[in-house]
Symmetry: D2
Subunit: 364 residues, 4 copies
């Protein structure tokens, strides 16, 4: 059990933060799809550490494709990628052998694997494991974009500072993909300044901030999704909760729907061609687990990075005595920033999986 998911498109992820490499296998993309490495590398760059406001760990995150691509096109058989780890400072983690970081997987993983897990840099629980997800997701995103299905996300909030929201009814390609083209993934540049200032202040204090990532999808065909356990929400939810630090997921107006009455929350149908549309889009493009043809909207909440320089109380597992821990290492003051392409990647993989399983003719 564990690092494998998907139905028609199975994804298997492997690696540790300070091991030889991280990587993943996609079994399998449809055959004959061009893999645009330049686009893929741009997507990787958005997630890459060493940018401003992120961890100073420098990694080139060069993606090597080991299989499944021939003459620049997918073969239809398993596509494997690896991303070498090149800049590991294992010494930074030495005290973690005994004192688990509050808010982090350290202690739970210690119990789970009877002490045999590679804990250096968080091991298999590190955010670096999202690198192969982005690499494979970028290929899925390209395959979808070729069919005019676009997946884009932005940082909807950092701490108490909000970006503009996507317009769930009129969402167009330009707006959807705008944040992904900027050096800081927001729609509103005023929000950017406030967020950056807050992040810098937190970093100086040796602290960290959380945030919400909002993702939109346009062009996805209506009538895809299955009842009960394979609702789109089930599988997007499963995939989004697989991203480290995600604590909540919501679709459409999400938790806010509980504050509305049915007569206000329901979206009226209006005639459309060839499929109906809705006048409003509180349902976020998914009804009964099935795509309605309206833009999909969903959000994931990322907690503030647990690894912080500020002193925190923990327990030395050697002596079982309480102690104080200040995490040195190199950590993101706000993981939500680099999580934006990860959310896009996960969503692209899940939606491509649904199309392969339920509507493969859409991919022809």
């Amino acid at each position: 059990m564990s690092s494998t998911f998907g139905r028609a498109l199975k994804i298997s992820i492997f690696g540790e933060s300070h091991g030889a490499a991280t990587g993943g296998v996609a079994d399998s993309f449809p055959a004959g799809e061009i893999v645009d490495m330049e686009l893929l590398n741009k997507m990787m760059a958005r997630r890459r550490p060493g940018q401003k406001h992120t961890t100073p760990r420098q990694e080139s995150d060069a993606v090597e494709i080991l299989s499944g691509v021939y003459q620049n096109k997918t073969t239809g058989t398993p596509l494997a990628v690896t991303i070498a780890n090149t800049n590991c400072h294992s010494a930074d983690y030495d005290n973690l052998k005994f004192v688990p970081r509050p808010g982090h997987a350290d202690y739970a993983a210690q119990l789970r694997y009877n002490g045999f897990a590679d804990r250096r840099g968080g091991g298999h629980f590190s955010g670096r494991l999202t690198a192969p997800i982005v690499a494979l997701g970028a290929i899925a995103q390209q395959i979808l974009a070729r069919r005019n299905v676009f997946v884009g996300a932005h940082l909807a909030s950092v701490w108490n500072i909000a970006d503009a929201n996507f317009d769930a009814v009129k969402l167009d390609r330009e707006t959807l993909l705008a944040a992904g083209k900027k050096d800081f993934p927001v729609l509103d540049d005023n929000a950017k300044l406030l967020m950056q200032r807050a992040i810098e202040a937190a970093a100086i204090e040796g602290d960290s901030l959380g945030g919400v990532v909002e993702c939109g999808v346009i062009g996805f065909p209506a009538g895809v999704g299955s009842p009960i356990f394979d609702r789109i929400e089930c599988r997007l939810g499963e995939a989004l909760f697989a991203i480290p630090a995600v604590r909540g997921v919501e679709f459409g107006n999400g938790f806010a729907c509980t504050q509305l009455k049915g007569s206000t929350n329901n979206d009226a149908f209006i005639a459309g061609d060839p499929t109906l549309r809705t006048a409003t889009n509180r349902h976020g493009g998914i009804l009964g687990g099935i795509s309605s043809g309206m833009p999909m909207i969903f959000r994931a909440a990322f907690k503030p990075t647990p690894s912080i320089a500020k002193a925190q109380k923990s327990v030395d597992l050697g002596t079982m005595r309480e102690t104080t821990l200040a995490v040195e290492g190199r950590h993101d003051p706000c993981v939500a920033i680099r999580a934006v392409p990860v959310v896009e990647a996960m969503a692209s993989l899940v939606l491509l999986d649904f199309l392969l399983g339920e509507k493969p003719e859409f991919l022809r």
Copy 2:
């Protein structure tokens, strides 16, 4: 693809609202577990329609066990249950053949199944499909309780009226299971009065209300769960989003964590025996996808019932002209009430699956 989930414990659900029966198969519970039918029926009664503040459709929801139980104990082979549908008023749904209900799966399902789905009463998308989930979940819940793992939920809010919250650190068995023993599933009886008044008012207006269900788990062993795609959040998230009307899921302090700094959000470890504890429990008992040994806390947001008597705009699919729809039928003014045992059932099935797959010795 669709109505099947789980790893070591596979659940398959079938049925339509106005068909012969709904049912489910669990493959398989551990062998030798007593099935307490009285407790199971009490759990069913909490979900049953025809109670006050719920749909007037009367169903006895009698559970028949077809296999997997011998001399009152589980055999370890597939356990199948059916629940006959006895009180179907199919005539109520006749106009739905042409005019999809806003906010409901009708239209999306029509596209998904090329018009062949049994739409009577919502068909396979009906809330009645949660009946076999509760029946199987009740058995899982009994198996867990026998090991002092308790799963309980309550209605944390209806519309803008909040119940008391679980205390995530001190949560005890009595509080956890209190709401499930009442006729209206809240902790605070003042909240009950306000909620019931609001629901009655909405019902009179032909409208409906949403709500949030909060679920807690105590006694679950630390160190269970797997990284990336089999985190506990992934699989509980997948299962909770499988309940009709759920639009959001959060763990621990959930979306609220994005408003805190890391230094405040992290829960300090304190020495404990045999496993560490945390002084606070914003992480909701799950760290890095793995149980920490602290009480688990999570919430699901239920939208207001989409089927309402108030007139709404929709489209006649025969003529493709816009029209107005008032849903007659018999509907819950607030589905969140009856969803409380469904959340417990789903959580029990997922957590038992984790134990079977990762820590079966706990079940011996």
Copy 3:
């Protein structure tokens, strides 16, 4: 883990020989397919006990469809069937509580389920569990036949008496389906007489005979199947070994291919329209795990029924002393006869699953 299989079409089987019912869930057949109950019942009749040369246990094997069919057509959501057990003589099995039958699952199941399995009539290990497989397989077979894919089997041998073989190159629909229309499933009526005589003789001696079932498929499109673990052989093999009493499975010329040189075993390609054909068909319609477009041919070996009236040596598990056992009950002198439609059903389910997963446009 256990009684669930399939990818795009998931099958879950439940029941015990002397419980309330056996049944199964198919999740899900394509929507809009007519379910011809007359044909389905004919298929059931071929498997039904109480015929000549089979166990005298009388069961009507009436199939009840609980879900997934509306107005005589599949809805596309899970289709559940049950078959009530009506003629159980549990007393026949009383001594089995202590003395396991040689060659039977009794003892292994006792260990597997810590003594909690329902052993009456073999419980979940009984051949009766093939009844729901035949019911669901009959629906799959009808869906395939509507696309001119035909699946048919016959009794290739009983003990040392051989039937004629299918002609792997020229196999036509009439020959393929001939045995299924007879009261004894062979191609050659002389073989029938010899086989029946041998079976009657064995029955009189209180003994039993094994046999080989050969299955053919015509009309299946070329280019379906996947490399490595989802080869057609993998999944047909998995499914055929799931039938009680199967001890060997082979494709094309099977084990005999090891006696040939490559130059003789290879089948030369010849031009064909639209796909190539082969001059001979030793490969049995599958190359590299993928359908070649030639008729598929495979065989399953069924051991002689282990439950026999003749005295056999076993051990009383109460006293752990060796003893002698003569199985009373009502048993088939040759299970291979009734296994013929079960092989067809399994093959139909697997092949439909492949089409749903890899070539759904073929089903439109």
Copy 4:
């Protein structure tokens, strides 16, 4: 769908014969297991090309472990291996772009992947894909051996020349592992000489020979396996049919059981401590899909290598005219020789998966 299998232990295989590398991911081995690279490399050497009587392609088959091992022990998280391809002569395959080899996957794969598959050297269908299976299987085999479960195989026959058989009752560790320690994997050295002579003669003729591999398992605990679709035969069958060139699989006395009467085929139980034994072992250690505690015995039939130097008839797919093909390249005259460790690897992976899923306490 395709190159992924397993339940509690999921295996995903990737790579092409002439691509950068082949590899695999095991998700996941139990934590804390020593990985003995010397033993692993010995197992790889048994499968490696370039030995006498096998293809002259020289490959070092050096296994690189990318993840899942820390300080020489498994971490319990996904273990990924890669094996670089270093000696590819792609020119050898140029004419295959148009003329499919008889008996090979070329043509079927061309249809399956719409012409986008990497056909160089057989691509993903090449026998080289068994290299990562052997690497991962070797680790499984070591984990089993540490619990006194031993898996060993030998070449039971080549063409019409038979080796000695395993004694299914008295099989001991020394005999079981004997063939694996020799330069030619047989029990009887006279058979070796005859087989080698026949293989050399076939090679000189530009032809090839098939063979049967027999595998045995001792020390596997009784009472493991599940009814219906997760019988041990189902999953071993699935895995063995995943090895290129396998055309038949049988357990115990297999197809030969159909020539016996029940009274002769059944194995009498005899008292044993702590579990019963059987006086004979025609059932091959598996009863009703569950391990009986007796040695397991099964066999796989490998067809003669389809790629031969002798001229064969095929069709030029460019012109659609019939033509003659002599496969140049470098091919094994008898793939069954190198398949012996592959059978052991597959069996080890499947049996470890069963223990992880059903009897993990055995692995503690």
